[in-house]
Assembly symmetry: C2
Homo-oligomer: 194 residues x 2
DNA sequence: ATCTTTATTGACTGATCAGTCAATCCGAAC
DNA sequence: GTTCGGATTGACTGATCAGTCAATAAAGAT
């Protein structure tokens, strides 16, 4: 194995094990051995176990973030940007179940406090700017932006939950994703304007 | 302290500590000492730490469940039942932040597998029967019931998230709760029938 | 070729902690 | 007042595991 791959391999292995056994249930020794490196190497790249957990979180967050930014910049109309954001988020979540699950797991763990607020906000920058654009264009209901953001994100979550627990053919999945997006859009958009 | 209070006191203390430090970050010894009992007493009432975690989960779940059932049985019209279910869930969540947070934390932890599927379903019985009633009355959109349930639950979640991170006067909170319920209802209900 | 830095190893340690247990305590029953 | 079963205690243990370290190897640098 190329040395440059090792930290990546460690992160990938940690993800798999954390999702299966939790942070506590996964000893660093097991991560190291399953990743095919020695105990010491793991601590060479990540000073502590906590640092490894946080590194995994930021790595996945920015992966998702870049993926979404790339997809969204292709479109122009605001509603279509929202649609892209929605569908791509769900698709990424379903195709990277472990990663998406881990992000939730992390969110509801004390490790969350180890990530600075700025870093967290930097990753939801897309959502915020898109929301501001929509606000300026007056296409949104008169609700607090943060509330709209929260509802929007939880719709993605709800869909992820459903799709990962009910096996369905891909076309059906696509249909639900589009249907739920339309419902969500009706929910948050202002019928008066636009 | 009355001996009958001890298991309850242990559960309450565990809740507080689990939310603050996580399952792993909370030694049983700390739970015992903060609850004002000895190490041995804790293990007298709960054979293992895992059993304590699961006991806390089922205890909170059934507390919420009974609370909701009591509130809902007061009303008759289906939409009003949904409204009650929604508003009461959110209010309970906001007034029992730690408890609601813990339920999520538990949900995204390996402990989840320790609770039998039947037990989990038993606790969401209200949601399921209400959903079946609504289905029979044909007031819902033609989507899979589980998908509707998931979206409904995540709306509660999104609102909880917003309300717990943005301090607002109680009247405002009430307004958002009602507004979001109406939005949710429009989202899941069939405008044709009713 | 020599020197310096960085990567890698795995045996080791010190601390932590879940769970045990023998001993006491307490209250209820009769 | 004696008996008996559960409640309570806290010191103790065996196992686990995060993180160290001294030694070795490999990779660059000049």
């Amino acid at each position: 194995m190329n040395k440059f791959d090792k930290p990546e391999k460690i992160l990938a292995t940690a993800l798999k094990l954390f999702v299966e056994y939790g942070f506590h249930g996964t000893p660093t020794s097991k991560i190291a051995s399953e990743a095919g490196v020695s105990n010491g190497t793991l601590f060479h790249y990540f000073k502590t176990k906590d640092e490894l957990v946080v590194a995994l979180y930021t790595s996945l967050k920015s992966e998702l973030s870049h993926f979404l930014i790339a997809k969204i910049s292709e479109t122009e109309v605001i509603k279509e940007k929202f649609r892209k954001l929605f569908t791509c988020s769900v698709e990424w979540a379903v195709e990277n179940r472990d990663a998406f699950y881990f992000l939730q797991q992390f969110h509801f763990s004390p490790h969350r406090g180890l990530v600075s607020t700025e870093e967290i906000q930097q990753h939801s920058e897309i959502h915020l700017t898109l929301l501001q654009d929509a606000r300026r264009a007056k296409v949104l209901k008169p609700l607090p932006p943060e509330l709209i953001a929260s509802l929007f994100l939880q719709q993605i979550n709800g869909l992820y939950q459903y799709l990962t627990t009910h096996a369905e053919p891909v076309e059906k999945q696509q249909k639900w994703i589009n249907d739920v997006f339309e419902l969500t859009w009706t929910m948050i958009s202002n019928p008066e304007a636009q």
